[in-house]
């Protein structure tokens, strides 16, 4: 019913406009001819509108700036971000000047040189001097922008200094996991074939390898049993055979990891996996490593002026040094609830908008305390059986100490 009423309303409105136009046409004819080009009055009016628009546009800009500039990102929480913010200010200064000058000329000329039938435009076709001027002046400014910008870029993208804390940020639809390298400062090897319920990142350790092999073997056995029960030659049979093939190939790939060096097979045991929030020690260099489980995501940490795509099938990285703890930033922003956020900034599916993780930047002592309280990977994949758990831990701990020796 509402729809019908609206259609009627639109129809009536169109009719009204149509009638209005006929009146317009009639009066135009009475006034003596309907000129195709604008009348003097129209030109004058539109010329003034140009000028009015210019002031309106600048006023809008100024209002937006006054109202919203306080809500831009607060001062950079990373060292390199300070350089970026200066670069941004420098570029903004230049483009704002260009923007204002060109707009003043554009709208003022439109206003000033409004049509008049007793005047002729100046026949001015080109001027090498002028054209040279506005080719070289932008070129000089751009040269400065390029040199300044690229020196910042090369600094920022430089490799992480020795001894940086390594953290892997691993996205999937629709959450993040952060992995710390633990006491050995080495991230354990990982592979997507190893992913399972208890091992979301596919970390490869002796423990996870055995349990993944066991899981796959059991699944294959189960499928083979099921195969006996389904009718021969049917679709279901075909499907099961296909799945068995997939699992067997996966098992072969998983088993090939046994050939990895012993050291890398234990490096993952002391890794620490955390969700929902992760900690960074202030003032220390951190190198982030990114992979992705399913589609492209992008790790966006706006307060640190840091962003990097996470691409399945490859590893990307970035590094920075944080310079303000969460507490300090709460004071700076005068907001007791402030938190640094890691957001996803590459369209990744329905819940893309809600793929976040809180970043806590804390004093190094707080960080050390926090990290020791976390469960290691080896602990997290232990079977529910309490005794078995203890044994497994002992074995891996021993192996690590052996390697360290």
């Amino acid at each position: 019913m509402v729809t019908f009423l609206i259609i009627v309303a639109i129809a009536l409105a169109s009719l009204a406009v149509w009638q209005l136009l006929r009146v317009f046409e009639g009066t135009a004819k009475l006034k003596g001819g309907d000129s195709f080009v604008p009348t003097d009055a129209e030109n004058k009016y539109q010329g003034r509108m140009m000028l009015l628009f210019m002031f309106g546009y600048f006023a809008f800009f100024a209002w937006l700036y006054v109202r919203y500039a306080p809500h831009f990102l607060p001062e950079s929480a990373s060292e390199h971000g300070l350089v970026l913010d200066q670069l941004l200010d420098f570029n903004f200064l230049i483009i704002t000047v260009v923007f204002v000058i060109t707009h003043v000329f554009l709208f003022y000329f439109a206003f000033k040189y409004t049509y008049s039938s007793d005047r002729k435009a100046t026949f001015f076709t080109h001027s090498n001097k002028l054209e040279l001027l506005w080719t070289t002046v932008p070129a000089v400014f751009l040269a400065v922008i390029i040199v300044y910008g690229l020196s910042a870029w090369m600094d920022i993208t430089d490799e992480a200094p020795e001894g940086s804390l390594t953290i892997e940020l691993y996205p999937k639809q629709f959450d993040w996991t952060a992995r710390y390298s633990g006491s050995d400062s080495l991230l354990g090897a990982s592979n997507y074939n190893m992913i399972s319920g208890v091992n979301p990142l596919g970390v490869i350790t002796n423990g996870s390898l055995t349990s993944k092999q066991q899981e796959l073997t059991e699944e294959i056995a189960g499928l083979k049993e099921e195969l006996e029960t389904v009718p021969k030659g049917g679709l279901k049979e075909e499907e099961i055979i296909e799945t068995i093939g997939k699992r067997e190939r996966q098992l072969a790939r998983v088993s090939s990891f046994e050939g990895l060096e012993a050291a890398s097979l234990v490096a993952g045991d002391d890794d620490i996996l955390v969700k929902t929030e992760f900690y960074l020690p202030v003032g220390e260099s951190v190198e982030f490593i990114f992979r992705s489980r399913d589609v492209i995501h992008s790790a966006y940490m706006p307060h640190f002026r840091a962003q990097m795509n996470c691409v399945p099938g490859m590893t990307t990285s970035l590094n920075f040094i944080s310079r303000k703890t969460t507490e300090e930033m709460r004071e700076i922003t005068d907001n007791p609830d402030f938190d640094y956020l890691l957001l996803c900034n590459k369209i990744c599916g329905a819940a893309h908008y809600n793929m976040q993780m809180v970043i806590k930047v804390v004093e190094p002592e707080v960080y050390s305390k926090w990290i020791t309280e976390q469960e290691t990977f080896a602990e997290s994949i232990q079977p529910a059986d309490e005794e078995g758990m203890a044994e497994a831990t002992n074995v891996t701990r021993n192996e690590i100490s052996m390697i360290e020796q």
């Binding site: 195709f36 919203y68 923007f99 439109a110 001015f124 076709t125 639809q173 966006y300 609830d337």
Partner: protein, 595 residues
């Protein structure tokens, strides 16, 4: 050519409705077909943007109109589904970039203006031209059909990056909807190539006597170079789409590797999604200029005519078109600064991208200088053209920020980017397209459009356009990511709730105002006052043809060209314009030489 001319002029026989309006091979009719199809697609794209603006302005609130358009599945109780939000954003982008501003813009004006302004009877191949339109229409129909499939249309963003777009498990829109998207785009590429080849061949071969390359109007130069860019870059999109189809259907792994999605392990290894990004943006960036150059061409024509003054720096304008076209092929990597590319490669792309600012600046300054000491007549087309110069500058300067790889780190994929490309590419091209329609409507339909409605249309559109996109820079500087269904999941962006409401109001008012244009368009087509042969006092050849369209464009012999297209207000002349067909007087120099 002469024989073709004689052949055509006497061939004005009666035609059936079908051969005249449907399967026409006449470039003027094909131009109108492109325009109407483009306008139809644009209305769909515009309604979609209004729908997602409702969600963004009043996040999570219920609107019966969402339910009316999208039904219970995609807008239960009038609340937009997040998957449908992404689908709307995706199809809005696809339609606006490809169907309106590539097919619609180039298709309309290249078809209308190239033969008429170079003095040709028709396109080099009328039949290829007809095919070009029908592939475009087929492509449009497939795109519209994809809106109605059960799992929804493609929704991985208009760039459809795999793996998201390759895996139906990753999102419902990557199912049937994505297949149809790829089919539609493949048809679209065929249409573009057929059209583009025809435009290039026509400009090179069918110029009338005296129409040297340096006497061509800038509109033809722009459309010509656009066609060259399209012919060189669209095949790459085609290959990207083809490989994506293979990955989706035949288990290849061009773009896929190491994927575990929705609890399932995929066996594809060795591919790279980054390969797709390279292929896509190798078209994608030239595509920006495929959209922008015709807009600049139209603006050059309209500004010179209505300033009653030669376009300033004609040769510099041609030079900048060529420079932009060349550079457009070596800048695509600036869309990929944060994909982990080698920083050194990133530097190269930063450098080449910033170079584009120079020819662009030359163009902007030349437009402004054309107005200086002109005799500016504010037809609706002129208003839209001045608006276009404004958006070209406003959006262009922020490009300098985004081209800087270091600054792109924090602005990439935020609303700053949305603001930048909507203003510099979207608004500029749309405003110029309106300018083109108002300016050449008398040529297309032999009628005049209503000027008062044109004025109202311009001012409301222009104000709303800036009202929508200008504030988005500020959201971007606060770090608000694009393609977010809602910002209410965390308090970081709460300050921008009010701004989002304001933007949505501007967007919806701006959308409604377009119905004034549509009304004006169709009303004038049927009831507008009859146009005169040269209503704007223009120099170019299209205004020497009869108002009533005939096959072959000119009765009798083809016109001969004696001068460039910009002899406006030339000293010593009686009128403030001298058409190109007027011979040079003794001792008179052509092309503004000596001035």
């Amino acid at each position: 050519m002469a024989t073709a001319a004689e052949h055509n002029t006497d061939h004005h026989h009666e035609e059936t409705f079908i051969s005249k309006y449907i399967f026409s091979m006449d470039h003027k009719m094909i131009s109108k077909q492109f325009l109407l199809t483009g306008m139809f697609m644009a209305v769909i794209g515009m309604i979609m943007s209004s729908l997602f603006r409702l969600q963004l302005g009043w996040q999570g609130e219920s609107f019966w109109i969402l339910n009316f358009f999208l039904g219970d599945k995609w807008a239960p109780d009038g609340i937009l589904d997040p998957n449908m939000y992404l689908a709307l954003v995706t199809i809005h982008g696809t339609i606006m970039v490809f169907f309106l501003l590539t097919g619609g813009l180039s298709g309309t004006f290249a078809n209308l203006l190239i033969p008429l302004q170079i003095g040709a009877r028709d396109m080099a191949s009328g039949f290829i031209n007809l095919l070009s339109y029908w592939f475009f229409l087929a492509s449009s129909i497939v795109m519209i059909v994809s809106l109605f499939v059960e799992t929804g249309p493609a929704s991985g963003g208009w760039t459809v990056y795999p793996p998201l777009s390759a895996l139906p498990q990753a999102m419902p829109g990557s199912g049937m909807g994505m297949t149809l998207w790829l089919v539609s785009m493949s048809l679209f590429v065929v249409s573009s190539l057929l059209g583009g080849l025809n435009y290039v061949v026509t400009v090179i071969n069918l110029r009338t006597k005296g129409m040297t390359m340096t006497r061509l109007p800038l509109s033809v130069w722009a459309l010509f170079i656009t066609a060259v860019i399209g012919v060189l870059s669209f095949p790459v999109l085609f290959s990207a789409a083809l490989l994506l189809i293979f990955d989706r259907m035949f288990g290849t792994s061009f773009y896929l590797s190491d994927i575990h999605v929705a609890g399932e392990l995929l066996e594809q290894t060795g591919g790279s999604p980054i390969l797709y990004e390279h292929l896509f943006w190798f078209l994608g960036h030239p595509e920006v200029y495929i959209v922008l150059l015709p807009a600049l061409g139209i603006t050059s024509e309209v500004i010179a005519t209505n300033s009653r003054k030669p376009i300033f720096g004609y040769r510099a304008m041609i030079g900048s078109i060529l420079a932009i076209a060349f550079l457009s092929f070596i800048v695509w990597g600036h869309h990929m600064f944060i994909t982990g590319m080698n920083p050194l490669l990133g530097s190269v792309f930063t450098f080449t991208t910033l170079l584009i600012a120079i020819p662009s600046a030359v163009k902007a300054f030349n437009y402004i200088t054309t107005l200086w000491k002109g005799n500016v007549r504010f037809t609706p087309a002129m208003l839209f053209s001045i608006g276009m110069v404004s958006t070209f500058i406003s959006g262009g300067v922020t490009g300098i920020i985004l081209a800087d790889s270091a600054l792109d780190i924090n602005l990439h994929d935020t609303y700053f980017v949305v603001a930048h490309f909507h203003i510099v590419m979207g608004l500029s091209a749309v405003l110029a397209m309106f300018a083109g329609v108002y300016h050449w409507f008398p040529k297309m339909y032999g009628k005049m459009m209503n000027r008062k409605m044109g004025y109202a249309h311009f001012w409301v559109t222009f104000v709303c356009a800036y009202g929508v996109f200008f504030p988005q820079h500020f959201m971007g500087l606060a770090g608000v990511p694009r393609r977010y269904y809602t910002n209410s999941e965390f308090p970081l962006f709460d300050e921008f709730i009010g701004m989002n409401e304001m933007i949505s109001v501007f967007a919806i008012v701006g959308a409604l105002v377009q119905f004034i244009f549509i009304f004006n368009f169709f009303y004038s087509m049927f009831r507008g006052p009859k146009a005169s042969q040269n209503p704007w006092g223009s120099n170019t050849l299209e205004w020497t043809t009869p108002v009533e369209h005939i096959h072959g464009n000119w009765p009798g012999a083809l016109p001969t060209v004696h001068r460039w297209a910009y002899d406006y207000s030339k000293p010593g002349k009686e009128h403030d314009f001298v058409p190109q067909i007027v011979p040079l007087e003794e001792g008179e120099l052509d092309g503004g030489a000596g001035h």
